[in-house]
Symmetry: C2
Subunit: 435 residues, 2 copies
């Protein structure tokens, strides 16, 4: 084996040091798979004085731009994160003729179109398997294996922190704040958990997934997003009592009319029998419904230095092979160019919990509010009320699939009804035969 592929790294943190360690330890295997010797020629870091176990000191530099524009660099691995300077460094690397492997979901979700165009212009690869669902091989199968099929829907649990929190709330009946504090103590949640618990991290991944699944440009700002910080122990318990589990889902789907896609992130009730329901703790999974393939699911660890490094190295081997062959691999295509439509155009199901006055006509008024919007009901459960000696009655209504806008308007109408004392909880239902 005489050829050498020269590799430069941007970032020497948790993921970066794992990538360097594996590139050095497994150089024989990796080189056999790539078809050329993979040689790390430099690692750009911010602080040269910090100890970086596993990274030989002679490789370190604090001039990332000089590193990525070296004429002999074939491949740049970007694991520094953040928008700038990662963006300008990646563009410089691509324009320098290097292929780029990135784990930077925020950047790809925000500015993927510009980066893809730069890769195409320079006939090099831009791969980012590690950006979504860590070690789970997911983007390549979506891009290539399902290339002969039509994806209708992607449902994913793509944020480990929130899935850990929701799993604990489900198992222990604990409240959100309590579990979050525990997760922070254990290192599963960051000191400032906003990006995770408000769904922003999941929204970036949803944008990337939607773009690949529907061959269309989708950016982070197209994603409607709602986090889990408003959930209570009562919400989780109520779901459990009805045979559901609450998950933070990233959903991307074709509209029924086929005129566009809707991409959204929000908590949803999933039936216990659904494959996504058994995805616990910090695990991730992405469930894909395609026209011919039917239901397919990918499951694995969504984060962590080693799993992320595994995904990065898979991309490195692929990009190295393409380099040797003198042409890039299958790029992200946006030929379908579907419009991204607002949340109101989604089709979904609601579970609505109400406190109503227990008097004749209350149920009829509630039922009429749904009927006015053309929403049909799957089940209605009433508890309490005059017979049990209480003044108010609890109503739990679950709808059939309907337009999100109709469901939202129904809930607004319910809030105005004299018969409704309180709209206690509203949650979407996903997964199962009717969705």
């Amino acid at each position: 084996m005489t050829q050498t592929i020269k590799v430069a790294l941007l970032g020497g943190g948790t993921v970066g040091s794992q990538v360097v360690r594996l590139l050095i330890e497994n150089v024989q295997d990796l080189s056999a798979r790539a078809g050329a010797t993979l040689e790390v020629v430099g690692v750009a870091v911010r602080d040269l004085r910090r100890e970086r176990p596993g990274i030989p000191t002679r490789l370190l530099t604090d001039d990332p731009m000089a590193l990525v524009t070296r004429p002999d660099v074939d491949l740049v691995i970007e694991v520094m994160g953040g928008i700038e300077p990662a963006r300008e460094l990646i563009l410089a690397a691509l324009d320098n003729g290097a292929s780029v492997v990135s784990a930077n979901k925020a950047l790809i979700a925000e500015d993927g179109a510009v980066l893809h165009a730069a890769a195409e212009r320079n006939s090099v690869d831009l791969y980012y398997e590690a950006a979504v669902a860590g070690a789970i091989p997911l983007l390549r199968p979506l891009r290539e294996s399902l290339a002969g099929d039509r994806v209708r829907r992607v449902l994913g649990i793509v944020n480990g922190t929130t899935n850990y929190i929701l799993t604990k709330m489900d198992e222990d009946g604990a409240d959100y704040a309590e579990v979050l504090a525990e997760a922070q103590r254990l290192g599963y949640a960051e000191a400032d958990p906003t990006a995770d618990v408000e769904g922003h991290d999941a929204a970036a991944k949803a944008a990337i997934l939607a773009g690949l699944a529907f061959h269309s440009p989708v950016s982070m700002s197209d994603v409607s997003c709602e986090g889990i910080s408003g959930l209570t122990a009562a919400d989780i318990t109520a779901a459990r009592d009805s045979g559901f589990v609450v998950k933070l889902l990233a959903v991307a789907e074709l509209t029924d009319a086929g005129d566009g896609v809707v991409v959204r992130v929000h908590p949803a009730m999933v039936p216990r029998s659904h494959p996504l329901a058994s995805v616990r703790d910090a695990y991730n999974a992405v469930f894909v419904e395609a026209e011919s393939a039917g239901q397919v699911m990918f499951y694995g660890r969504g984060a962590g230095g080693e799993p992320t490094a595994s995904a990065v190295l898979g991309d490195v081997v692929a990009a190295a092979r393409n380099k040797l062959a003198g042409r890039p691999g299958h790029a992200h295509s946006v030929y379908a160019d579907l419009k991204v439509l607002p949340l109101g155009r989604a089709t979904t199901r609601y579970s609505v919990s109400l406190l109503v006055l227990d008097r004749p006509g209350a149920l009829a008024a509630v039922a009429a509010a749904f009927a006015e919007q053309g929403v049909s009901l799957q089940s209605v459960r009433q508890e309490g009320g005059l017979e049990s000696g209480e003044q108010d009655a609890s109503l739990l209504v679950r709808t059939h699939a309907a337009a999100e806008s109709s469901l939202q308007q129904t809930v607004e109408r319910l809030r105005e009804l004299a018969e409704v004392k309180q709209v206690v909880a509203v949650m979407r239902v996903e997964g199962g035969p009717d969705a």
Copy 2:
């Protein structure tokens, strides 16, 4: 789009007619993804007089060799099945410079090495995603996404018929013969179910998976194989009572010493909490443990015309793109060239159910039989016996992980012991923290 990729099909059965239908119906999408117009130029079938809905009559031919050696054919899809003439037709197609997409697990498992060599010699692709686990994108991720990692173990449910039967036995407590008859009535099992229930179909898939996961040549004859026809309702119930579910598993793993791989198919008890336990009915799933990625699982429909056609078309798009680029994609590599070792070299765990004489020293004799072989015990449960007024006692022993050969010798020794009236059942245990 001016370029055209000419496609020939071998086989016009269930899968073939779905492939043709989708190629014609979705020609625009598929061509956009492939980068050239995909044109079906012929479909070779055995009987020209049979009705083949969806396949235009002008495309039909009963001379497959003439079709695959046409100088203008770029790509051959083989969905006829069986060893010959599929083998010689594929070889002729490859030597004619056409890339080949096949769904033929038996052929790939038996003679993959020769076919891969022919593809490499002719610089064309040989893809067969549909050969294992139908629509689940699995082989490409194993070959490419995990290319930077080291796979240690693959555990798969890869046969839908047996998984359907085992699911029904688990759910209904019914006996094997009863459920098999029902499965045959419903079309889930064939009139002659041997290939499925004796594990031969799973063994072919295990050979393909093992070859890809360990970058080594593995053929069907390397796989040790045991089916489900010997299982009783009592076996399944006993497993369920202990928190396990019985699955027919295809297992491929590195030995602890790293000196080779063992590939096996047999029924095994899987803990209910393991992701494979919730794979029900005719669904398939493959669970991969890799050094860095950790645990990853792929789930979906394992068979059926449409799912299989989806996998075939994914390969067709990839092979077409490679054709246009003038070079094949990443081929199956066997650089690691690991030896396939006999079953005795596997590391596994046993669950052994015994009927012993209820007299002092019986338990000691049983425990000694395990200790002699260096097998340590995870749990022992005794039921019945003198205290409950019975003459015999039931012992359920579960071991820690040990060499398969030691476990087999232990069971032989148990059968000879005077204290043991009967070795009632022996089953391997897979999945979970200790395996």
